[in-house]
Symmetry: C2
Amino acid sequence: MKFLQVDTIEKAREKIFNAAKNWLQKAEMLPLEQTAGKILAQDIIAPQDLPHFRRSTVDGYAVISKDCAGANESIPSFLTVIGAVEMGKGTEFSITTGQCAEIPTGGMLPSGADAVVMIEYCEAFGDNEIAVYKSVAHGGHVVQIGDDMKQGETLLSKGKKITPQDIGALAVAGVKDVCVYIPLKICFISTGDELITPHYNPLEDGKIRETNTLSLAALAQKHGYDVVKTLTLPDDEEMISHAITDNMQDCDIVAVTGGSSQGKKDMTAEIINKIANPGVFTHGIAIKPGKPTILGSDTSSQTLLVGLPGHPISAMTVFGLLFGWLHKEIAGERQEFAIPAKISVNVPQSPGKVTCYPCKLVFENGEYTAEPIFYKSGLIATLVEADGYFLIEKDTEGLAKGSNVMVYLY
Amino acid sequence: MKFLQVDTIEKAREKIFNAAKNWLQKAEMLPLEQTAGKILAQDIIAPQDLPHFRRSTVDGYAVISKDCAGANESIPSFLTVIGAVEMGKGTEFSITTGQCAEIPTGGMLPSGADAVVMIEYCEAFGDNEIAVYKSVAHGGHVVQIGDDMKQGETLLSKGKKITPQDIGALAVAGVKDVCVYIPLKICFISTGDELITPHYNPLEDGKIRETNTLSLAALAQKHGYDVVKTLTLPDDEEMISHAITDNMQDCDIVAVTGGSSQGKKDMTAEIINKIANPGVFTHGIAIKPGKPTILGSDTSSQTLLVGLPGHPISAMTVFGLLFGWLHKEIAGERQEFAIPAKISVNVPQSPGKVTCYPCKLVFENGEYTAEPIFYKSGLIATLVEADGYFLIEKDTEGLAKGSNVMVYLY
C-alpha cells in the first residue's frame, strides 16, 4: 500500500518540478514577429556593435567641439559649412578645424566631427557660413558606435518572457528567428455523474452545469499552456482510465477534476496508480481551499498526472499555485510581481494549512487595501469580484485588519 | 494657419477620447470559450437562482438539524437511514424526524432535511441505523438555492475584462454566447530614408534597421488592439499620404512613426491636415520622452490619425500612455494596477513636462525598489532590463531617493 502523503505547497512544487524538469524543455524557432509573450529558450548575443556608425540625436550641425568652446550669445563661433549629411547615407567628406556640416536627427557623423550643435543655436550667414551661439561638449548630441549594444554582450537571457521592447532590441540586433519554448500541452478531464454541458437548459434536479473545463482552460492559457483537449465524463472508472491513457501520449499534463467526495478522490488516485509508473507521489496538499489534490507522474510517456478538486475555486487555486508556477519555473521565467496591500478585516487561518483568500484591491491615499472575498465551497460567482488573491502562511494564527499581505493578480 | 497646441497627457487623452468615443464601440457575439481576456460589451444578468437545488458540500448524511441537537462523543443521536441520494439525480423521498439519508458531496438534499452531518462524525449500526457524534447547525454543509447567484442580479458588468473565473460564472449561468467588444483596428506606418528591413545584413553606413513597427505592433496587441497592417516607407510625402488614406478606410487608428527631425515632423502634420477633416488637434505633448507627437482625426472615415516620435522608447512611451489608456477607457475597462515602490536614486525632472522613467523592480524586505534606467535618445536595448515605468508629475522638481512612486508594468 502506498503511503498517503500530504505535502506543503513548496514540497508539491519541488516534486512536480523534479518529475518534469527533464521532459518539458522543448523549444522551436519562430519568426521574430510571432514571439511577443513567448519565453526565450536561448541567450541572445549582440552580433556586432550597434549602432554601427555615429549618429546625431538632433537636427543641427556636425562640428569639432573645440571650435565652439566658449561660444555664447555675445561671442559666437563662426564655421564654414562644407556639406550636408543625407539621411540614410554614408558621408564621404571630413570635417577639419573651422568647418561643419548640416546634419539631420539620425544622420551619420562625418569623420573629424565629434559633436552636434542644435539648429536652434545656429544662424546662417551667406551661403556657407554659420554663427554658433552655444558651446557643445565632446560627444554632445551623438550616439556612439556600440551605445545601444556591444558585440558579444548578452542582450537577453534564456527564460525571459519577450516584451515589446525586447522585440525592438532583437530587431536592432538583426535577429530574424528566435528560439522559444513550446507551451506545455495540457488536457482537462472533468468527471461527475451530476455534470451536464454548460449551455444545456433547463436544469434537471441534481444536475449542475460543467464549468471546470472552461475556467481551467482559460486559466491554463493565461499561464502559457496549450490546452489540447477538454472533456467531460461520468464517474466511470473505465472511461476515465481510457481518457487519461489516450491523452498521456499527446500531453505533458493530464488533469482530472472530480467531485470531491471520498469515493471519487480514491478513484482518481487508483486509476493513476494503475496506469502510470511511478504513479501518485502526493495525496493531499496543505492548502485551503484545495486539499484533495493528487499528483503523480508516468515516466515512459513523460506525463504529469493530476487530480484536482471538483470545487471550482479549489481547482483554480491549486492549478494557479502549482501549475502556473511550474510553467514559469521550467523555463526559468521570472514569477509574477505581487502587489503589497493591507487587509481590510481580520481573517482567520486554518491550522496546519496555508489559506488562500481571493480579494478585491482598492487604491486609496497612496496604498492598496485588500478586501477578502468570503465564499462557500462549491460556488464560483462571488469570485468575479476578485482582482487577485493573498496567502496566509500556515504557522500564523490568522491576520489582523491592517496587516501587510502580497496580492497576486488573477 | 493652425495653432500649434502642446497638450498635457490628460488633455491629449481627453481629446482622443472625445474624438473617438462614438466610433469605437463595435461589438460581436462570441462563444463563451473564446472570450477569455475580451471585454464585455453587455451586462450579464443571472437568468435563474443558482444552484437551483440545495446541495451538500460534504460526504455524509442529510439530517434534520434539531435531531442532532446536543449530540457528542458520549451521547450520540441515533437516526434511521431511509435511503441514499444518488449523484446527479433528484430525490423522491422525504426526511422526517428521526430519519436521515446518505448523501455525497454535491448531492441534492431530500425535502425535510436541513443540514448534512459529515461522515467522519457518524457510525453505522446494523443495516439502517447510524449514531451521530456531533451536532450540526441549521443549514450546515448545505449550499442553498441561489447561493451562487440570484435571478435578476447583475453577475458581470459591461466593460469588465473576462477572467477565467468569470468564464466559470458565465458557464454556471448557462450563457452560451457573449457580446464582447471587437478590438480596435490599428495600422503602423514607419517612415525614414535611413530604414532597412530588420533582418537585412550587412548594414550600410547611415542605415539602421526598422524596429518601430515590430515593437509597436507587439505593444498594441498587448493592449488589446488588432494590428491590421504594418509598413515601412521612405520620406516621400506622396507615398505616406497614400498609405494613410488607404488604411483610414479599414482602421480605427493610423499611426505614423517618423524620424524626429524638424522637416519630418512637419510633413506628418501637413499630410494629416491635407487628407483629414478636422485634422490635427494636438501638436506636441508635455511629456519626456515623447514630445514630438501629433494627434488628429478624420470624421468621415472615423479614424484617429497619429504621428509618433521616431525614437523607439519615445514612440512606445507615448503609445502606451495614450492608446493603451484609450483602448481600456473606450470600453469602460478598468485601467491596470500599478505597484507602489521607492526609487533607488535621485531623479531629475524636466521643467513643464511629465517625465517617464523606465525602471527595474527589486523586491526586498517586504517592499519594492524602483531602479530607474537611464538611456540615450534613439536607443532601445537598455529597455530590455525594464519591468515597468513610473511618471514624475510636471509640477515637481525631481524626486529624492526613497520617494514613493507607482510603477506601471510593461
